[in-house]
Symmetry: D5
Subunit: 146 residues, 10 copies
Amino acid sequence: MDKVTMTETIIASKLEKGLTWEAIAEKVGASPVWLTSACLGMNSASPEQAAAICDCLGLGSEVSTALQKFPTKIWEQTVPTDPLVYRFYEIMGVYGDTLKEVIQEKFGDGIMSAIDFNMEVDKEENPKGDRVVVTMSGKFLKYSAW
Amino acid sequence: MDKVTMTETIIASKLEKGLTWEAIAEKVGASPVWLTSACLGMNSASPEQAAAICDCLGLGSEVSTALQKFPTKIWEQTVPTDPLVYRFYEIMGVYGDTLKEVIQEKFGDGIMSAIDFNMEVDKEENPKGDRVVVTMSGKFLKYSAW
Amino acid sequence: MDKVTMTETIIASKLEKGLTWEAIAEKVGASPVWLTSACLGMNSASPEQAAAICDCLGLGSEVSTALQKFPTKIWEQTVPTDPLVYRFYEIMGVYGDTLKEVIQEKFGDGIMSAIDFNMEVDKEENPKGDRVVVTMSGKFLKYSAW
Amino acid sequence: MDKVTMTETIIASKLEKGLTWEAIAEKVGASPVWLTSACLGMNSASPEQAAAICDCLGLGSEVSTALQKFPTKIWEQTVPTDPLVYRFYEIMGVYGDTLKEVIQEKFGDGIMSAIDFNMEVDKEENPKGDRVVVTMSGKFLKYSAW
Amino acid sequence: MDKVTMTETIIASKLEKGLTWEAIAEKVGASPVWLTSACLGMNSASPEQAAAICDCLGLGSEVSTALQKFPTKIWEQTVPTDPLVYRFYEIMGVYGDTLKEVIQEKFGDGIMSAIDFNMEVDKEENPKGDRVVVTMSGKFLKYSAW
Amino acid sequence: MDKVTMTETIIASKLEKGLTWEAIAEKVGASPVWLTSACLGMNSASPEQAAAICDCLGLGSEVSTALQKFPTKIWEQTVPTDPLVYRFYEIMGVYGDTLKEVIQEKFGDGIMSAIDFNMEVDKEENPKGDRVVVTMSGKFLKYSAW
Amino acid sequence: MDKVTMTETIIASKLEKGLTWEAIAEKVGASPVWLTSACLGMNSASPEQAAAICDCLGLGSEVSTALQKFPTKIWEQTVPTDPLVYRFYEIMGVYGDTLKEVIQEKFGDGIMSAIDFNMEVDKEENPKGDRVVVTMSGKFLKYSAW
Amino acid sequence: MDKVTMTETIIASKLEKGLTWEAIAEKVGASPVWLTSACLGMNSASPEQAAAICDCLGLGSEVSTALQKFPTKIWEQTVPTDPLVYRFYEIMGVYGDTLKEVIQEKFGDGIMSAIDFNMEVDKEENPKGDRVVVTMSGKFLKYSAW
Amino acid sequence: MDKVTMTETIIASKLEKGLTWEAIAEKVGASPVWLTSACLGMNSASPEQAAAICDCLGLGSEVSTALQKFPTKIWEQTVPTDPLVYRFYEIMGVYGDTLKEVIQEKFGDGIMSAIDFNMEVDKEENPKGDRVVVTMSGKFLKYSAW
Amino acid sequence: MDKVTMTETIIASKLEKGLTWEAIAEKVGASPVWLTSACLGMNSASPEQAAAICDCLGLGSEVSTALQKFPTKIWEQTVPTDPLVYRFYEIMGVYGDTLKEVIQEKFGDGIMSAIDFNMEVDKEENPKGDRVVVTMSGKFLKYSAW
C-alpha cells in the first residue's frame, strides 16, 4: 500500500468513526500536528505509533506498514492557491528576510533546522475574533569552516 | 526617497552605531520582528514610530517619510535559495496541508489572516543545541454565504 | 463523493431539469454568484443550504454531504486562455496598481478581504449593446504594528 | 518623455501639492479610476484631458504629450505578490468559472469587453468594518458564425 | 457528450465518409475555417448549423447538442512545437509590434476584436511554388475615458 | 549603432517631421508592414532601401548601416499582455489547430513559410464599426522523405 | 490507430523479429534517420513507403494508414535530460550564435530550412575511440522585402 | 577585459578591417566554426592562437589574455526566437529521439561527447537553391558499471 | 516490460525477501550505488549482471531483459522537494562555481565526465553524530581546438 | 563593500599576484574548497581567517569586513548551462533517488546535512586519463516524532 492510498484509507475511516485528528493524537500520545503529517504521508511513524494509529481507527497491518515507510516528500513548488495555505506563503514572502536578520542576529551564521523540528497549533479566544497561534521550534545549526 | 534607499540608509547607520534590531525595537517600543520588517520596507510605520526609529539612528525626515509610505510588497515567487529562508518554505511545503487540516478542524471553514497578524522569534537554550522558536498569531477569518 | 463528482452530478441534474443557476439560487434564498461557486466546489454550504440545493435538483445525501465539505481551492496559476475569463485578468493587469492607489487613498494601508466578501452580476440593457455589471464588496482589513 | 518618467513626474508633483487622485479627477471631470490609470500610463488622454491634468498639477507640455500617447500595456504575468492586488487575483481564481457560468447564462456565448469598459471604487461605511465596493461595467460582445 | 468526444466522433465519421472540411462547410453554408473550429470544439453552433453538420456526417442528437454548447477555450500557453503552427507564432513574434504601430496609426488607440472576427484560408497558385493566403477581419474597438 | 538605437533615432525623427509609416513606405516604394518591421529592427534593408528611408527622415549613414545589418530576432516567449497584440495570440490559440487542418487539407503535409512571406493591413469602412483586415501570404513548403 | 500506438506496435514487432532500423531502412530504400523518424511518428510516409515498412515488419493496414497520417509534431520545450539528447542541445546552446555568424556570412540574411532538410549518422572508427558523425543538409531560404 | 567586451572589440575591429570569420580562421590555421566560437567567448584559445587572432585584427594583449580565459558557458535555456537558431532547435526536437535510436543501435549504451567534438559548415551549390551542410563529429563515450 | 514496471517488480521482491541493496550488490559483485541505479532504471546491466540480479531476487527473464535495455534518463528539472535530495542540489547551488574554479585550476579547461564516472556512499561513525560520506570519481575531459 | 565587489577585488588581486586558490588555502590553513567558496561569497570567514586571506592578497580591512558578513546564498534555480557545472546536476538527476535509497538504508529516515558539511577535490592520475575525485561529508540528521 502506497502513502496516497494509506491517507485515503485513514481519512475514510476517520470520517466514518467521527474522530478528530486531535482525538487520535491524544490516544496515540503525539502532537496533533505531527500525527496529522504522518497520516498525510509526510512523516514516518515508529512501529508502536503506527500500531496505535491503526488500533484507534480499526485498520489493519497494511496501513501500519505504510505508516512506517520513509516518505519521499513531494509538494508543488509553485505557490499554492488555497487561501489558507497561501497566507502562510505570503507571510514567508513578506517576513523571510526579516526572519533571516532577526535569527542570525541572535544566533550567528547558520539556519533553523527543518528536520530536528516541531510545530503546534493553538486557538486563542479573543472578543475581537479568535486567533490562530502557530509555534515552530527547530534546532539552530551553525556553519563552520573546514 | 524610495523604500530600497531607505533600507540601505538604515542598515548603514545601524552598522556604524553598532545597534541591533532588538535594541532599536526596545527603544521604539515595538516587537523586533515588526520593527525589522518596517525597516526592510515590508510594513509602514506611524509618524511617531518613524520619528522614534530615525531619532534612534540619527537619521533625518526623508527616512521618516519613507518609513510611513504604504509599501508595495514584492518578493520572488520562486522558492528562495538562501538556506535559512528555504527551510521555512520546506516547512510550509511539508506541513501546509497539515496546517489546513488542523486549523479548519479547530475553527471551521476559513483562514488565518496574514494582515491582522503578528510574529515573534525567541532563543530557547538547550544542552543538545539551542533552538529557534517562532510564534505566529493571526485572526481567524470565516467564510460565509451571501 | 468528492467535489469534482459533486459538480458533475449537479450540472447533469440541472440540465435534465432545465433549471438555471438563477432559479436554483432564488429557491435556496442565496445569491446566484455564491450558489454557483458552491456548486462548482469553491465554497462550502451550511446543512440547510445543502439540503435546499439537493431538494431543488432531486439529489441525495451524498451530494449534500459533499456540498458541506470545506473546499481546497485550486486553480491554474497561469493566466487562463478562455476569452471571457481572460478579460477579467486583463482588467486586473491593467488596473491592479490603480486599484491599490485608489483604495489605499480612501482607506489607508491595508487590503480588501477576499474572505469576508461577496459579488453580484447584473445585466444592464443599453441600445448600443447590453452591458455586464459586476459588483464586488469586501471588508477593508488594516495593517497595524505590534 | 516616456510613460514611466511621466508617471514619476505626476506623482512627485501630486505629493508636493498634497493633492489626491480623487481631487484631480474631480477638477478634470473624469472618474478617479480612469484618471489614475491614465496617470499610471495604462490609458491615453485626449488633448483636453491631458491639458486639464497638467494644469491642475502645474506641469508642462512634455507631460501633456506623454499623457496622449497610446500606451503599450505591459504587466507581470505571474500572479502579483502585493497583498492588496493578490486578493483580486484570488477572487478571479476562485470565481472565474462562476463568472463564466453566470454571465453566459444571462447573455449567451460571448464575453464582457475589457475595452468598452469602466470601473468605480466606493467606500461603504459599516459598523462591523468599512467595506470596499468595486463596480465594473463592460459591453457584452457576442460570438457569431461566418 | 463533451467537446473532446464530439470532435473524435466527427473526425472518425468524416474519415469514414471521405469528406473534407471544405465539402462539409459548403453543405452547411458556412466558411471552412469557422466550420472546422466549431467541429474542433472552439466555437458553438446554432441549432440549425449543428443539425446540418450532423445530417451531413450521419451523426445523432448527442453530437448536435455538444456542438451547441458554449465552449471553454483552452490552449497551451507555451509556444506550440508543431512546425506549421509555430510559424504563425513566429510571425506574431516578429510582426506583433509592427501590427500595433500600423493598426493604431490607421485607427487610433484601440484593438482589433478577436470576438467580432472572421478568417479565411486560400490557395494561390504560383510557378515558383504555391502560396498560402490567410485573411483575418475583426471589428476595431476604441478605448474611451469615463 | 545597434538596432535599438536605430529604432529610437528613426521614431524621434518621424515624430519631429510628422510623418506616418504609410507615407515613408510610399516614398520608399515598399509595403507599410515591411517598412515598419525594418525600422523596428526585425528585417534588414537593401542599401537602396536604407538610403531611401534615411533620405526621407533626414538621417545619416550610421542609421543606413544599421538598417542593413542582419537582425537577431528576439521577442518575449510568454504571451504578450498588450491588448492589441494579445488578441492576435488569442486568435492563434483558438484557430491554430484549425489552420493546420484547413491548410494541410488543401496542400498536403508541410507548412506555410514565415521567411518567404509578406503581410498587409487594411481598413474596411463599415457602418456597424470599421474593420481591421490583415492578409498574410507565405510560400507552401512540403515535407519529403530522403 | 494513432501515432503513439503505431510506434509501440512497430517497436514490438522490430524487437520480436530482431531487426535494426538500418536493416529496415535498407529494405525500404530510405535513409535510416528518416525511416526511424517516420516510425517514431515525426514524419509521414508515402503509401509505397508505408507498405514496404509494414511488409518488412509483418504488420497490417492499420499501421500503414497511421504511417501516412500527417503528424502533429510535439516535443517537450524544456531541455531534455537524457544525456545523449542533452549533449545535442548543449552543442546548440554553445554554438547557436556561431552557426548564425558563419551561415549568414556565407549565404546572406536568411535561414537553413528544417523542412527541405535531411540528416545522416555515421560511425567513424578511430584508435583513440570511435566517433559519431552527424551530417545535416537544409535548403537556404532568403529573406526579401515586399 | 571580460569575454563580452572582448567579443565587442573583436567584432568592431573585424568590421573596420572588412575581414570575414573565414579569412581570420585561415590565417590562424583553425576551423571557421571553432574560431568564431572562441571569438564569441564560448571556447578558450591557446597563447599561440590568441596571438595569431590579435595579430590578424591589430588588437593588443588585453584581448589576447581574454581569449585564453576558460569560459563560463551561459545561454538562454528557453528555446531561442531567432529563426535561424530556432530551426536547429526544431531539428533537435523532431529528431532527438531518432538520433538516440540510431546512435545507440550503432554504438551501444553511451553518448556522443560535446567536449571532444568539432563541427564544420559548408555551402553546397544546387540549382533548386543552395544548401547549408553542417557536419558534427564527437567521440563516443560508453557507460560502464562499477 | 518497461523500466518502471521492472523497478516496481524488483522492489516488491526485495521487500518480500528482506534483502538490502548492499546485500544484492555484494552477491552481484557490483557497487551498491551502481546496482541501485540500474534497478531504479537509470543504468543498463550486462547480460551476466542482469542474470545475477534476477537470480538473487528470484525473478524471471522479463526483468532480466528490462535491466539490459538502454535507459532514457528522465528526471524533473525543477529542483526536487524531498529534503534528502534537495540538500544535494543546495550543495551544488552553493558550491557549483567553487567546483569550477578548483577543478579547472587543477586540470585546465574541461569538465569531469558524468559518463565515465562512479560514486560510493559510506558511513563514518562519529561521537558527535555519524556522517554520510559520498565520493564521486569522473574522468577529466579536455576542450581542444580544431 | 558588498560580497560581489569583494569577490571581484579578490580575483583581480589573485591574478595580479599569480596565486592559486590552493596556495592561498595553504597559507590560511583551510581547505581549498571552503576557501574558494568564502572568496566567492558563499560562506563567512572568522576575523582571523579574513585577516589571513587579506594579508596573503595584500588587501585592506574593507575586504576583511566583507568576508566576515553572513552571506545570503542566491543561485539560479534553473539548471546551469556551463558544461562543468551541468554535469554535477546531471549526476544528481540520475543518482538522486539512488542516493536516497542507499543513504536511508544505511542510516534510517533522515538527511545528510548541507550545513554541518565539508567537501574536497582531488586529482587522481591515471594512464587512461586523469580523474577528478570529489568527496563530500555531512552529518546525518534524523527525523523524530513529537
